[in-house]
Subunit: 596 residues, 2 copies
C-alpha cells in the first residue's frame, strides 16, 4: 500500500522563494501569517491529512454512500469522525472573515491546506469543500440577517453548504431551468422542483445543510434573466438560530458513479420547501457565480492534488520495482534487475508528472495570492490587476489543471504496469476520481468558451493585455541573465504564439463565432502552457539566485533540471496548438449532423 | 441506454473500396471470400454481437467473476450460453487452418468480426480471444501429435487457451521467471510455480483450458536463454483425446480490477502439474512470441473497438441532448435549445473520434491483410514485404491504437458531461475497460522500445525502408491529382519528419542507448500518425474516384471531410513529436533517483 507525504517543502518553496509572500505582511490578514505561522499550519494540516483523511480514502471508495428509505444518507465509516476533527481543529475557518468567526488568514494558506485534503481524500474534501463557496456567495449577496444567521455556523463547519443548479434537462444551459419559487407573502418562498448531481446534498456530517438553489419566481422572464437565488436550509433555523423544523427538501436518490464514491451525489427533491431570496429577484445568477468561481478554482486544485498523490505513488513504485536493466549498463549490479526508474520511458512519465505538479502548485498558489490581493491590496491598481487575473485565469485553472492533471494521473497509473489496473495499488481509484474534474462546475469545453467568449474581451481586453505586459516585463527585466536565458526565450516564444492566437481569435472569431468555438480548447491549452512557462521561469530564476547565494539545498538543482525538461518536452506543443487554433471552424463544422 | 450498431458499412468501405480485397481472390482461402460471402458473414456476425454479446456487457461489468472455494470460477450470467452460441456458430474457426477444422477464411474477416465482439463485450471477447493465439503458437511450434490433439478442439472452441508469462516479481523482464519444470523421464515435466494476471485462466465456459506456460527446466541457463514453453491442460486428455484427469493447476485468486470485470483475471498455481514441452528446451520464448504478437494485434484492435462503441454512444448523445444555442444562431428554433452537436467544441471531440475509428479500422484491416499475404501470397517478394510490415507495425498497432483509442473513449465520455460519469450511460465502463489496453501484452512503453530497439534495425532496416518507399510511391503515383494534393502533401511532410526522426535515432541512439529510449514513445506516435496519414490518403483517393464515377453514396463526401479535418487537426502534432525525439535523453535523465 503506497503512502502520501504532505508536499510542504515544495509549498514553502513556492510561498517563500517564488512568491516571497512576506512582502505582503503589511496587508490585513497577512500580518498574522508570519513564515513561522505558515510553516506551523502547513505541518499541522499535513499531519491531519496524512493521518486522518488518507486512511479513509480507500474506505470511502469501497463503501460508498447509501440512501436510507427515510431519505437520510449513510456515509463511509469514519467520515463523520474525521469531519468533526476537521471542524474542531478550526480548519474550515482558516481564511474566512473574522467578523463571522473566521481566522482571516490568507487564501493561499487555505489553498495549500486544501491541496492536501484533496490529495488524501477528494471525496471527503467535497463535503466541507462546497461550504466555503456557499458562504462566500452569501457574504457577497446575502442580507445582513442572512449573514449573521448562516455565516458563523458555515465557517465553523457546524453547517455545510451545497450548490443547486443542474436539473435533469439542463446543466450548462441554465436558461431552461424549471424549479419554481412561489412567494408566501411573508418574504419567504415555496421552492419546488428537482435538482440533480448535488454533491454532498445529504449527509449526517454537519448539523444542518444550507442549500443555495437557483429557481424561477412565478411570472419571471424566460431564460437566464428570470433566475433567482434562494437559501433553503435542510432544517429551518429557529429563533435562536439553531436547526429547527425539517424543511421540504429530501434526497431522492444517489448517483452510481465512476469515482468519488465516498461523496454523496444526490438527486434533491424540493417540495414546497421554504426558501429565502438571496439578493434581488431575477438576479440570482450573478451571486451564484461567486460560488461557481470559487468552485472552479477548487476543481482546478483537485487536478493538481490528485496528480501529486499519483506522482508519489508512481515514484515510489518506480524506485522499488525492479525489472530489466538500464540501456546503458546495470545500475543495480548486485540485484537481479534495475529499478524501473532507470528506464528512459518511465523517466519520461515521471518527469511529466513532476513538471505538472510543481508548476501546477506554483500556479494555484499564485492564483490564490491574486484572490487575496484583489480584496486586500492597499492600492487600487493592484486590486484591479488581481481581479482581472482572477477573472481571466479561472477557466484556465479549472480546465488546464484538470486536463493535464488527469493525464498526469494516467501516466502514474501507466508506470505501475499491470499493478496499476488492480484495486490493490490505489492509483486506479485516483484515475476514476480525477475523471469528474474535467466535467463538473462547467465542462472543460465550457471553460474554454468562457475564456474566448467572455474573458478575453472583458474591459476592452484589459486583463489579457495586462497579462501579456507582465510576461514581457519578466523577460525584459531579466535580460542578460545568461543561465536564465533558455527560460526567457521559451516564455517569450510561447507568449508570442499565444498573442498570435489571440489576434487570430479577435479577428476571425468576430467574423464567424464558430471560429472562436473551434479554437477554444487549443487556445486554452496554449494559454495554460504560457502560464506554466512563466511559472517555470520564475522558479528557475529564484533557484539560480539561491544557488548563487551558496545554498546547497538540493531542491534548487532539481527545479532547474525539471524546468529544462519542461522547455524541451512541453513547449513543442505550443506550435501544434497554434496551428489548430488557426485551422478555423470550416472543416470542423463541414459535416451535417446526418452525415455522421 | 445507448445501443451499438455493427459498423458493417464502414468495414465494407475499407475491404471493398480501399483494400480492394477481391484482387486477392486467387489466393488460397481468399477464393471462398467472395464479396457476397464477406457481406453475409459480417451481417450475421454483426447481429450476433448486437443481439447476444452487447446485452451482456453491462451484466458482466456489474456481476464480475467469483472464485469458489474449490478453485472453480463463476462467470457472469449468460456468458456460458453466449460462448456456446459462439462456438456452435463456428465463429471461433473462421480463419483457422482447414487441416484442423478451421474454415480457412482470410484473417481480415476474422478481424472484422473480432472488432464487433470486442466493441460489444470486451470482457467476454477475451475468453475465446486468447485461444486463437495459443492455437497459433502450437501450430508453429508444437509436434504433430500436439497439433492433432489440441488444435481441432481449440479451433472449434470446445477447449480454450491461455498465455502464462507473468509472475509476481517479473512481467516485462521474463529473464527472472522462476516457474520450474522437472523432467518426469517419460517426456513429460512437472510444472511448479505461480503465474499472475492470467486472463481467462479459469472458467466453466469451455470443456478444457489449455495453458501455455513459460517455465525453466532444472539446470537451464539463467535469464531468457533458459526459458521453455509447456502446454499444461487443465484436464489431461485421455487416450481418446477427451478431457480426463484433473491436472495440478488451480486458480488461487482473482484480481480486483478497474475494468473488464466480466473476465476472470487469475492467479494460477502450478503444483507439479503435468506439462508437455512445446518445441525445444530453452527455446520457448520464440514460440510464445507467436502468441504474443497475435495478442498484441488483438489488443490494438481493442483500442479501436472500444473507441467505436464510445463514438456511437457520444454521437447519439450529441444529437439527442439539447442544451444552449449554436453560436451562429438557433439550429432547432422550435425547441427550447439546440442539440449539442451544433457546438464546435463538441464537434471537435466527435470529429477526433471519427478520424480515429475510421483510420484505425482501415489500419487494422490492412494489417490483417498483411498477415494473410505473409503466408498466402503467391510471390515471395510480397510474402517478405508483408512479413516485414507485420513485424515492424505490430508495436504501432498495439500502442498507437490503444493510446489514441483510450483518448478517444475519454472524449466520448466528455461529450456526455455529467452523465458520462454515471454508470447509467455505460460509457464510463468503456473507459475503465479500455485502460488496460495500454498496459497488457507489453506496456505501450515496451512497444515503443521494441520498435526503436529491435524493429527498426531488423534485416538491415529493410522493413522501415520498404515502408518509406511505399509512402513515396503513393505520393509519386498520384502526383497531379489536384483534389488529392492536400493528402499527398500531408503524407509527404509527415513521412519526411518520421524519416528525420529515424535518422536521428540511428545516429544518436547508437551514441547513447538512452537517447533511443527517451525518443521511443514520441517516435512511435509520429510513426502512427504517418500510418494514419497514409490511410487517410488512400481513403480520400478512393472516395474521390467514387464521386467522380458518379456515386451519390454519402459516405464518400463524409470520408473526404473527415480526412481534411485529420490533415488540419492531427498532423500539427508531428512537429511536436519530432522536436521531442530530437530533445534527447540528457534532460530526461538529468536527475538522480534521489533527487526526485
Amino acid at each position: 500500500m503506497p503512502s502520501y507525504r504532505a508536499p510542504i517543502r515544495d509549498q514553502r518553496f513556492v510561498l517563500n522563494d517564488v512568491l516571497n509572500i512576506q512582502q505582503y505582511s503589511n496587508l490585513p490578514g497577512f500580518s498574522d501569517a508570519s513564515a513561522d505561522i505558515v510553516d506551523a499550519i502547513l505541518e499541522e494540516g499535513g499531519k491531519f491529512c496524512e493521518n486522518v483523511l488518507y486512511p479513509l480514502n480507500k474506505v470511502g471508495d469501497h463503501e460508498g454512500c447509501r440512501l436510507q428509505p427515510d431519505g437520510e444518507v449513510v456515509v463511509p465509516n469514519g467520515f463523520k469522525e474525521a469531519y468533526d476533527q476537521l471542524t474542531e481543529g478550526g480548519w474550515t475557518a482558516l481564511s474566512a472573515d473574522p467578523e463571522y468567526g473566521g481566522q482571516g488568514l490568507p487564501h493561499y494558506l487555505n489553498l495549500a491546506f486544501n491541496e492536501m485534503v484533496t490529495a488524501t481524500n477528494m471525496a471527503f474534501g467535497m463535503y466541507p469543500g462546497l461550504t466555503g463557496g456557499a458562504a462566500q456567495a452569501l457574504h457577497v449577496g446575502g442580507s445582513d440577517e442572512q449573514k449573521q444567521l448562516y455565516l458563523p455556523k458555515m465557517i465553523s463547519g457546524e453547517w455545510s453548504g451545497t450548490m443547486n443548479l443542474t436539473e435533469p434537462h439542463c446543466g450548462t444551459d441554465l436558461g431552461m431551468l424549471r424549479t419554481k419559487a412561489v412567494p408566501n407573502g411573508d418574504g419567504t418562498y415555496k421552492i419546488s422542483g428537482q435538482k440533480i448531481w448535488i454533491s454532498a446534498g445529504e449527509h449526517p456530517m454537519s448539523q444542518n445543510i444550507i442549500h443555495l438553489v437557483l429557481a424561477r419566481v412565478e411570472g419571471a422572464p424566460a431564460g437566464v434573466k428570470g433566475i433567482s437565488l434562494f437559501v433553503v436550509p435542510k432544517f429551518i433555523p429557529d429563533e435562536n438560530g439553531n436547526p429547527g423544523k425539517r424543511n421540504g427538501v429530501k434526497c431522492g436518490g444517489l448517483e452510481e458513479k465512476m469515482g468519488i464514491h465516498g461523496n454523496a451525489t444526490c438527486v434533491m427533491n424540493y417540495d414546497e420547501a421554504t426558501g429565502w431570496l438571496v439578493g434581488e429577484e431575477n438576479k440570482g445568477l450573478r451571486i451564484m457565480f461567486v460560488m461557481m468561481n470559487e468552485a472552479r478554482l477548487g476543481v482546478g486544485l483537485q487536478g493538481l492534488a490528485l496528480a501529486e498523490t499519483a506522482y508519489q505513488y508512481s515514484l515510489a513504485f518506480a524506485k522499488d520495482r525492479i525489472q530489466g536493466r538500464s540501456l546503458t549498463g546495470p545500475k543495480n549490479p548486485d540485484g537481479p534487475a534495475d529499478p524501473i526508474i532507470v528506464h528512459p520511458d518511465v523517466r519520461r512519465m515521471l518527469m511529466d508528472q513532476k513538471v505538472f505538479v510543481e508548476a501546477g502548485r506554483a500556479f494555484t498558489l499564485w492564483t490564490a495570492l491574486q484572490g487575496d490581493l484583489e480584496h486586500k491590496a492597499a492600492d487600487e491598481e493592484t486590486r484591479t490587476k488581481s481581479g482581472d487575473y482572477m477573472a481571466l485565469l479561472t477557466p484556465i485553472v479549472k480546465a488546464y489543471l484538470t486536463d493535464k492533471g488527469y493525464d498526469s494521473v494516467s501516466k502514474g497509473l501507466q508506470i505501475h504496469g499491470g499493478s496499476g489496473f488492480t484495486r490493490e495499488w490505489g492509483i486506479e481509484q485516483l484515475l476514476r476520481d480525477a475523471r469528474i474534474t474535467l466535467i463538473y462546475e462547467g465542462t472543460n469545453g465550457v471553460q474554454a468558451l468562457d475564456l474566448v467568449g467572455r474573458k478575453l474581451a472583458m474591459n476592452g481586453m484589459r486583463p489579457i493585455n495586462t497579462f501579456f505586459a507582465e510576461m514581457d516585463a519578466f523577460v525584459a527585466d531579466n535580460k542578460g541573465n545568461k543561465e536564465l536565458e533558455p527560460f526567457l526565450d521559451g516564455l517569450a516564444a510561447t507568449k508570442a504564439k499565444l498573442q498570435k492566437a489571440t489576434n487570430w481569435l479577435v479577428e476571425k472569431g468576430l467574423e464567424n463565432f464558430d471560429n472562436a468555438g473551434a479554437a477554444s480548447t487549443d487556445y486554452l491549452h496554449l494559454f495554460g502552457l504560457t502560464c506554466f512557462a512563466w511559472m517555470w521561469g520564475r522558479m528557475a530564476k529564484v533557484s539560480l539566485e539561491k544557488i548563487a547565494e551558496g545554498s546547497d539545498d538540493p531542491i534548487y538543482a532539481s527545479k532547474l533540471a525539471t524546468g529544462h525538461y519542461f522547455l524541451q518536452r512541453w513547449l513543442p506543443d505550443a506550435d501544434a496548438h497554434l496551428a489548430k487554433v488557426e485551422a478555423g471552424a470550416d472543416t470542423m463544422m463541414a459535416l451535417t449532423a446526418e452525415q455522421f
